[in-house]
């Protein structure tokens, strides 16, 4: 179990893009090794090589002196390398337990009762509540993330790779995960962790490797780094957040009255919710994921019919004024994007007031492509251009497409669920500034976020959501908070 994982001169090109440029780094048994970098820096690509999903153009990876079988994920898994991917790899139509069985592998009959017993033992050990017979489709994003982690820890793995596991967890849940990771490391495993929140990284990692534009800039002990230094190595600067201003008394844009909403399975997820959002105001809603956030957001934007009660946007039912509502869904890959389609197509589908790019029914392709290029520029999307398929973008860059679409032009009403999920600190700050700017421009913003800090930082008023009910939440003073 106690062998070194060494990466030497790893180089990977995608067409003309050099995603990894001669990267060398060691991962030592017993350490939590964090990998940080901007969106598109090559973190996930590096991890995909460690777990055997990609074949490098040059360079090698050795585990305890032996070459890892490149391009053979199963072989890597058999050598004890487990990976939690940045995006879910779950089968929605199967149950929790079936998903575990699927990834655990094996042949012949499935020993269901044995699996279930082991599953329950693990859940208990980690203090997680996951119903083994529940359908995965009914899980919240946070629960899905835990299931992914369980899957990775299932067999005896000596190396555990986690690509942004905390992006979908609340602060408390992330803390719990870190306790678990420390225990895994103490047992002599290698834990490789990707995270964007630098404070998280500094609190949990033993060593930190910084990637920048595909190069490993440096690897440092935790004691040698602080937030400012990390940020500088990653991007060269630290962003600034302009604090929001208190909203004046402007007209009410969104009014939610006595709202009850059910999910697809008919469970009542939003109960008796009442609130107003005025023009120029950001109303924050925070809470542990799976407490009705998604259903509430969908009801406000008009894609989920309320069970009872009503939502009005500018005095109309939301479905009628869809053109003035910007929406950032929580799960970019499920509800936001079509991965097989191009960046341009994915912008176009969500574009509000896109008629200027049409001549009659026909798209004016070149002027629209110019527009997409300007969005790519403005939002700092790392991609080859409007025609690249979204599947080949890094996670954070996919998120930027969803944001660009919702924020340009500024909508009159914006509903954003975890808008900065997967963004690096610079892009996060940019999005925060955009939300503030949108509000200043007169938009009514509903910010639903698992990050209490984000809500405290941006919201004029805030609520906590729990079991589908809202209660007022006093935000901490902004000065005490760190932006990332």
């Amino acid at each position: 179990m106690d062998s070194l994982l060494t990466v030497r001169g790893l180089t990977k090109r995608f067409g003309r893009l050099v995603a990894l440029d001669s990267v060398s780094v060691d991962f030592r048994p017993g350490e939590i090794h964090a990998v940080v970098g901007e969106n598109g820096a090559g973190k996930s690509t590096l991890m995909a090589h460690l777990a055997g999903f990609l074949v490098p153009d040059r360079g090698e990876i050795r585990l305890g002196g032996d070459l890892l079988p490149a391009g053979d994920p199963l072989g890597c898994r058999n050598r004890g390398i487990a990976m939690v991917h940045q995006h879910f790899t779950l089968v929605d139509g199967l149950t929790v337990l079936e998903n575990v069985a699927l990834s655990a592998g094996g042949r012949g009959w499935i020993a269901a009762s044995q699996l279930e017993a082991q599953f329950r033992r693990l859940c208990e050990a980690y203090g997680w509540e996951l119903e083994p017979r529940a359908a995965v489709a009914s899980l919240s994003v946070g629960q899905k993330q835990k299931l992914e982690i369980l899957k990775a820890l299932w067999g005896e793995s000596s190396i555990v790779i986690l690509d942004e596991p905390t992006a979908t967890l609340s602060e408390t849940e992330a803390e719990e995960l870190f306790v678990l990771l420390r225990r895994l490391a103490a047992e002599g495993r290698i834990v490789v962790l990707i995270a964007h929140k630098l404070r998280e990284v500094l609190s949990v990692a033993d060593r930190i490797t910084v990637l920048r534009g595909g190069r490993a800039v440096r690897t440092v002990e935790r004691s040698e780094a602080d937030e400012r230094a990390l940020a500088e190595w990653m991007a060269g600067e630290l962003p600034e957040i302009r604090p929001g201003r208190a909203a004046e008394e402007k007209p009410v844009r969104i009014s939610v009255r006595n709202l009850h909403v059910r999910d697809d399975l008919g469970r009542l997820r939003v109960r008796q919710v009442c609130f107003d959002v005025r023009a120029g105001e950001i109303v924050g809603i925070t809470g542990v994921d799976g407490n009705g956030q998604v259903e509430l957001a969908e009801a406000i934007v008009g894609i989920r019919r309320p069970d009872s009660g009503q939502v009005m946007v500018d005095g109309e039912p939301p479905a009628k004024v869809a053109q003035s509502i910007g929406y950032v869904p929580q799960d970019r890959q499920r509800d936001g994007l079509s991965l097989v389609m191009s960046v341009g197509d994915n912008v176009l589908i969500g574009l509000r007031n896109g008629s200027r790019f049409f001549r009659g029914p026909f798209l004016h392709a070149s002027s629209f492509a110019d527009h997409v290029r300007s969005l790519i520029d403005r939002f700092g999307v790392r991609c080859a251009g409007p025609d690249q398929t979204v599947a080949s973008l890094s996670g954070g860059n996919q998120q930027k497409i969803v944001l660009a679409r919702a924020l340009d032009p500024f909508p009159k009403v914006l509903v954003a669920v975890d808008p900065t999920r997967g963004l690096d600190f610079k892009a996060t700050a940019a999005v925060h500034n955009l939300l503030l700017e949108a509000a200043e421009g007169g938009a009514a913003v509903v910010l639903i976020s698992g990050s209490r800090e984000e809500v405290a930082l941006l919201a004029n008023r805030a609520f906590r959501i729990s079991m589908g009910r809202l209660e007022p939440w006093e935000t901490a003073a902004v000065q005490e908070l760190v932006p990332c």
Partner: protein, 337 residues
């Protein structure tokens, strides 16, 4: 897994097909020469290839729209028949009247008939939640039986002892492009519609909606697109194209409706569309290849000792080999990261 490049898969298909001949001690060399000669050997051969490609092209385009929208239409056959019958019924009802506009009217009616028949399945998927895969298969059975009943009853030409409808007079048929080779305007219609469909798919909002609905319906919904309506519309257009193929066969090639109005064109259109990458321009290419195969096979039947069973086996083996060697080249319909 064996994966062949575009050209190689044609070679593999041919080789596999010819193996069937070798198995029965017939000369593969002679067979391949006959096949190619029958497909592109002279003006008549080319005309026949284009004739066979026509219904495949139209139905293939039809399959393309529906499948791109995530509505898995298996009912091209029924929709083609519906299109032909719509024309034949109108012709009969109008007292067999014929004028210069008649063939075009028959095509419009064909498209309309196919669209109505397909919309039935589209409506059931969009608003009743029944997958089109199931309904279109069942509707095929219904339409085939309806055809058999009509041509041996109300539509049967009383002067004929066989189940065939009244023959269209000459001036009620589509104009011929080549009088000797029997090639009619139907192929040009298909050739024209392919780029039109491409523009619809890639340059209009409806086309964008269609591609989104097919690749990630959840995202289409979150972007507040009217996905049910989009899919219903795609299905109607799909049926219209298949129905048009029926109209073209009726008013172009056959001139009357009988049990043999379709040579499984509606089913063969599915591999044509998939191998064409569910792309209108790709479908033109595969329809031509399939057309050539069927045209060439007719010469195999005529000029070699191979019987019809062997030729059918040859076609099936060649197509299977073609499909299998192109595995992985088909564009994914569902989103997968």
């Amino acid at each position: 897994m064996l994966r062949a490049s575009g050209l190689a898969s044609y070679g593999i298909a041919l080789a596999a097909g010819l193996a069937v001949f070798a198995l029965f001690r017939l000369s593969p060399v002679q067979a391949v020469a006959t096949l190619i000669d029958g497909a592109v050997g002279d003006r008549f051969a080319i005309a026949r290839t284009l004739l066979k490609a026509t219904p495949l092209l139209l139905c293939g385009l039809g399959m393309t729209v529906a499948w791109r929208a995530g509505v898995y239409n298996i009912g091209g056959e029924g929709q083609l028949i519906a299109g032909a019958l719509a024309g034949a019924l109108a012709f009969e009802a109008g007292g067999a009247f014929a004028g210069t506009f008649t063939p075009w009217l028959l095509l419009v009616l064909g498209a309309f008939g196919g669209a109505v028949w397909a919309s039935l399945a589209g409506w059931m998927q969009s608003y009743r939640g029944v997958p089109a895969v199931i309904t279109t298969i069942l509707l095929n059975f219904v339409m085939v039986q309806t055809l058999l009943w009509l041509v041996s009853g109300p539509l049967q030409d009383p002067s004929l002892g066989v189940p065939l409808s009244r023959r269209l007079p000459h001036d009620a048929m589509l104009p011929r492009l080549d009088r000797q080779a029997d090639l009619h305007a139907g192929f040009l219609i298909g050739l024209l519609l392919a780029p039109v469909l491409w523009v619809i798919l890639y340059r209009t909002f409806w086309g964008l909606d269609i591609r989104f609905a097919g690749s990630n319906p959840d995202a289409a919904r979150a972007n507040r697109r009217p996905i049910r309506l989009v899919q219903l519309g795609a299905m109607a257009l799909s049926g219209a194209l298949c129905g048009l193929a029926g109209g073209v066969e009726y008013a172009g090639s056959l001139g009357q409706v009988g049990a043999g109005i379709s040579q499984n064109w509606g089913f063969l259109a599915i591999p044509v569309a998939l191998l064409g990458g569910l792309d209108p321009l790709g479908v033109v290419a595969t329809a031509l290849v399939f057309g050539g195969l069927f045209a060439g096979s007719e010469d195999l039947l005529r000029f070699t000792p191979a019987g019809s069973a062997l030729v059918a086996a040859f076609q099936a083996v060649a197509l299977l080999a073609f499909v299998a060697s192109r595995q992985g080249r088909v564009k994914p319909v569902e989103a997968e990261g």
